[in-house]
Amino acid sequence: MAESDHLLDLQHLKTYFYTFEGVARAVDDVSFFLDPGEVLGIVGESGCGKSVTAQSIMRLIPQPPGKIVEGRILFDGRDLVRLSMGEMRGIRGNRIAMIFQEPMTSLNPVYTIGNQISEMFRLHMGLGRREGLNRAVEMLKKVQIPAPEKRVGEYPHQLSGGMRQRAMIAMALACDPEILIADEPTTALDVTVQAQILDLMLKLKEDFDTAIMMITHDLGVIAEIARRVVVMYAGRIVEEAETVPLFEDPKHPYTQGLLRSIPKLGRRGAGERTRLVEIKGIVPGLLDLPEGCRFSPRCPQVMGICRKKDPPLGRIGPGRTVRCWLYFDEPGKD
């Protein structure tokens, strides 16, 4: 029974990597959902499992060493984890599209932009070469690339970083997918270009009615674009909330730390200097995770139980969950 009210529904997803040094639990029991036309932000530091989650949805985990061990990824009444590679290819690019962090290296250097975009039309819609190229010009127009007729014939190295990311977006949206997974799409770009790309994505989301899963470590991007946020730490979700409540009242000490480490304008009173607060310590390696709460070694509010027992992900309000002992009674039961 693969029934779900949501467009995409991850249930207890576990993706592990089997290495010589041991098993890396890159994604460990992650559940969240995505509704049609919604923008969901997934935040966390590098190595927290956010990209692996995205690649698991696309079934792009290199296997071996990686493997989806457990869980379901429900999409349109089907469990993506159980689909054959042939069935999956009909979904990839066509109904769930993905764009990557590095626009510099995400496009194939030996083919023209037009060739790479029209490949989507040829593959998923069975269009011919000429027709596909015409549609590629249209797509380039939609992502606001100037002189699209000229650009289709150009190679990736002839385009700037922002242009390339636009071309990537054009390629991803070519077949009008229901979901767009954006894995740090603006990280490698200049700040001004970042804003343009985010604006473009929001505009296209309306035009194409696409749900967006925005993966980033940049809370500024989240604030700008997402309605709901999932915060991940060391392969797990530590907090989930709507964007505004999360920014106004972060619950998990990790989220609080993340928010304190963003510089803010105008918060500096006269003569008073506020330092940016960092989260002390480093992200634990996935091969030797600490006992108990995975954040406990870095947590400023750590308690005795945190080092012994893993906190559950519990509900503390409408649409709000957090994985922290601060909000739950110590369970003698279990």
Binding site: R92, F100, T105, S106, P109, V110, Y111
Partner: protein
Amino acid sequence: MLTYIIRRLLQGVVVLLAVSLICFVIFRYMGDPVLTLAGRYATQEQIQEVRKSLGLDQPTYVQYVKFLWNAAHGNFGKSYVSRVPALGLILERFPATFELATCAILISLVFGVGFGVLVALRPYAWHSRAIMAGSLGGISMPTFLTGILLIMIFAVYVGILPPFGRGKTVEVGFWRTGLLTVDGIRHLILPAITLSTYQLAVLLRLTRAGMREVMAEEYIKTAWAKGLSPMTVIVKHALRNVLIPVVTMAGLQFGELIAFAIVTETIFQWPGMGNLLLTSIYETDQPVIVTYIMMAAVIIISINILVDIFYAVLNPKIRYD
């Protein structure tokens, strides 16, 4: 592009001049051709006469200019041994070597790239380990040993392929080919395999390394994310990028195969240029040796230019302006 080609051609001319100077020095100062020609029992007058008739009594620079002038007109002098123009002698042998080298490079390209891709995609499968072990043998085994082993197995023990010679040939215009007769092709198989083994192993290793690198690239991830089939991802998106260095390498090797197929040609008594060169060295037939060196230089330079042009076709980042 055109200016680039012209520039490369001019560079080629400079290289040829340098080679010609070396050739001239060999021609003039390595042993005295007059003694060889006039014979051991010639009198002083006879020797002087031969010297004069060959123009060897003139000053060195005049001789060099004359040599250049003649070389530019395709006249490299006559073979001391067979008394026919050296260039004609070599050109007559050229088709045999060219066919052998072409077959060898095709074999190494097809199997080198094919196996290279296979090994890169499944590095731990048993067939990959077997291929890699074999390629190590291909790189380290000297050509003459490969040739002799192949003759021993296929010509002597199994007896299905001829051990030497070029077999029946057909003349098509000025070109004498062995590719149009079954006998000719049967004769071609063993030497072509022998000549290809080393190149095959090199191309295999190059393809494997390139393939492993490219398969980890972001744009390959993009290709998978588009929903493309493994065939399209591997051949269209990955292999095309890997081929850029592979084709360059193969092109350069091809020039060397044509110019220096000497060992293989000797083992199989292949009537090609390499075989001719070896005989000429035995007989100190200097005009033939010099012509051969000049020909080799011309072939390698032109193939280099062709490879550069083809490189620009394969790699859009390269535009020669």
